[in-house]
């Protein structure tokens, strides 16, 4: 009974981490730098939904569409106004990483300034009685989160495999120089990757916002989990990031069977360190010398 409940809890956590890790990993695999400000996209989009729905009182469906569009625009803007300008000046991936930290801090501070430090609730879904499933409890919202996550990941898989643009993204991720020689503009692909990766972050933000309270640092916390999932699965591999994120979700939840729940984050980091020590390329990653 407990095992099933933990399995369900792990699945819910994994579904959210997978969305975060997927967007992050997609951007990393194509643009070849760690975009930590992905966390800011998540937090700002969740607050934007709160602003539209809870403050302005817009229709929830319309607010959701605007929040996803906002996330895409925010990601695109970060790429266009910051990263692209740095790339023009031949900035290394370390410089881009530092810039991403600056963006993360900037946007989190902006959230604090605009919305204050206290937690906010979107409040669209009232607390519902959980459904019993072989003795384990799951709410309709949680079922929706898991289902939405799986559908979205499936659509992303099809997009990357079947469309020309998805193939072009994989081509730039594989070898930017060759992609340019066959006529693919890497800069245009970077724009697309930021738009799509950030839209996924926006959807993750909405799902998290419905399930939990909003607080200014929520993006950083989720980003750390998404980043850990991406490393465990194999940095740069989108399927790996999904696998790593679910593994992390299950490990965290099964870990608290034996340990106090306060150690949840510690479990995630122990797994991360174990992978960095014994399998740095992650589950699906390829060793550098191969």
């Amino acid at each position: 009974m407990i095992a099933l409940q933990l399995l369900i809890n792990g699945l819910i956590a994994g579904a959210i981490y997978a969305l975060v890790a997927t967007g992050f990993s997609l951007i990393y695999s194509v643009c070849k730098f760690v975009h930590f400000a992905h966390g800011a996209t998540i937090a700002f989009s969740a607050y934007f939904l709160y602003f539209l729905f809870s403050i302005l009182g817009l229709n929830f469906g319309f607010a959701v569409v605007l929040a996803i569009a906002f996330a895409s625009l925010l990601g695109y803007g970060m790429n266009f106004f910051v990263y692209k300008q740095l790339r023009k000046r031949k900035a290394s991936s370390v410089i881009l990483l530092i810039a991403s930290f600056a963006l993360l801090i900037f946007f989190e501070s902006l959230i604090l300034l605009l919305f204050g430090a206290d937690v906010k609730t979107i409040g669209f879904i009232k607390i519902a009685k959980g459904l019993e499933f072989f003795g384990a409890i799951i709410t309709p919202l949680q079922i929706f989160i898991v289902a939405a996550s799986f559908v979205l990941l499936g659509l992303l898989f099809l997009f990357m495999k079947k469309t020309k643009i998805g193939k072009a993204m994989r081509a730039v991720a594989d070898n930017k120089e060759v992609a340019e020689v066959v006529g693919i503009s890497s800069e245009r692909i970077y724009d697309y990757v930021f738009i799509i990766g950030s839209a996924i972050a926006g959807i993750a933000a909405i799902l998290v916002g419905l399930e939990q309270n909003l607080e200014p640092m929520m993006g950083t916390n989720l980003m750390i989990k998404g980043f850990s999932g991406a490393i465990i699965g194999g940095i740069g591999s989108v399927p790996g990031a999904i696998l790593g994120a679910f593994l992390l979700g299950f490990a965290e939840n099964f870990g608290i069977w034996f340990l106090p729940s306060g150690y949840k984050d510690a479990i995630a980091f122990i797994i991360l360190f174990a992978f960095l020590l014994f399998r740095p390329q992650g589950i699906l990653g390829i060793k550098k010398n191969e």
């Binding site: 020309k164 072009a168 006529g183």
Partner: protein, 245 residues
């Protein structure tokens, strides 16, 4: 079709390309030869936008492409084969060729709404090309799983499939068996008949002399001789460049 005017590229004190001027005419095969380090590949890199010139101009179809990016050079109709094989290793052979086949089709909405279908015509073209290089059985294999020779063939197929008016081939038959060399020579002759231009770097003199309409000889970053194969064969400057004084 392609005019290179007084092109210069220095790396510190090394004059890799030092005032090169030449022309490649439509419907001809032009070979760029010379000893190692004479600047042939640097000229290729300058034309294809991978390196930025110090001075000089590159004109293609009456358009100044000197400052074009590599993708703009490709999209204007110049397809290039590298000396070292370069493929998308994590993509299948078919995907590698498909990306080369229609390089204008990365428009966002066109793709999102599925207007950019992989048509049967495109698939047929890919299959034909793979048949030609004897790789038809491997279209769904990942490029990284192949040997050097097989990768070379896929790379060549991709370069030819990339829509172009000018083919720039850097040692296309290096490491390729004699039978396939003949096949490649036939392909190049067919392309020439169709009005395309080919600019070739090749160390295999039999292959080059048999195929080229015009040979340009480089030495120390400069052009030291230019002419028809029979004129180049007996040119003492060419012998001097290869053998030393």
């Amino acid at each position: 079709m392609l005019k290179v005017k007084n092109l210069k590229k220095y790396f510190g004190g090394v004059k890799a390309v030092d005032g090169c001027s030449f022309e490649v005419k439509q419907g001809t095969i032009t070979a760029l030869i010379g000893p190692n380090g004479s600047g042939k590949t640097t000229v290729f890199n300058l034309i294809s936008g991978i390196l930025k010139e110090d001075s000089g101009k590159v004109i293609f179809d009456n358009i100044d492409i000197t400052h074009f990016s590599p993708e703009a050079v490709s999209n204007i109709g110049i397809s290039r084969l590298f000396q070292q094989t370069r493929l998308f290793n994590n993509l299948t052979v078919k995907e590698n060729l498909l990306l080369a086949l229609d390089n204008e089709d990365t428009k966002f909405w066109k793709n999102v709404f599925g207007f950019n279908k992989i048509t049967k015509e495109k698939e047929e073209k890919i299959r034909e090309m793979l048949n030609l290089v004897g790789m038809e059985r491997f279209e769904n294999k990942l490029a990284r799983e192949f040997s050097y020779g097989q990768k070379r063939l896929v790379d060549l197929a991709r370069t030819i499939l990339n829509p172009h008016k000018l083919l720039m081939l850097d040692e296309p038959v290096a490491g390729v068996n004699p039978y396939l060399r003949e096949e490649i020579a036939e392909i190049l002759k067919t392309l020439k008949k169709q009005g395309e231009a080919v600019l070739l770097i090749e160390h295999d003199m039999n292959f080059t002399l048999k195929l080229a309409d015009c040979i340009i000889v480089m030495g120390g970053g400069k052009i030291i001789a230019e002419g028809k194969p029979e004129e180049i064969k007996g040119n003492p400057k060419v012998l001097e460049a290869y053998l030393g004084e």
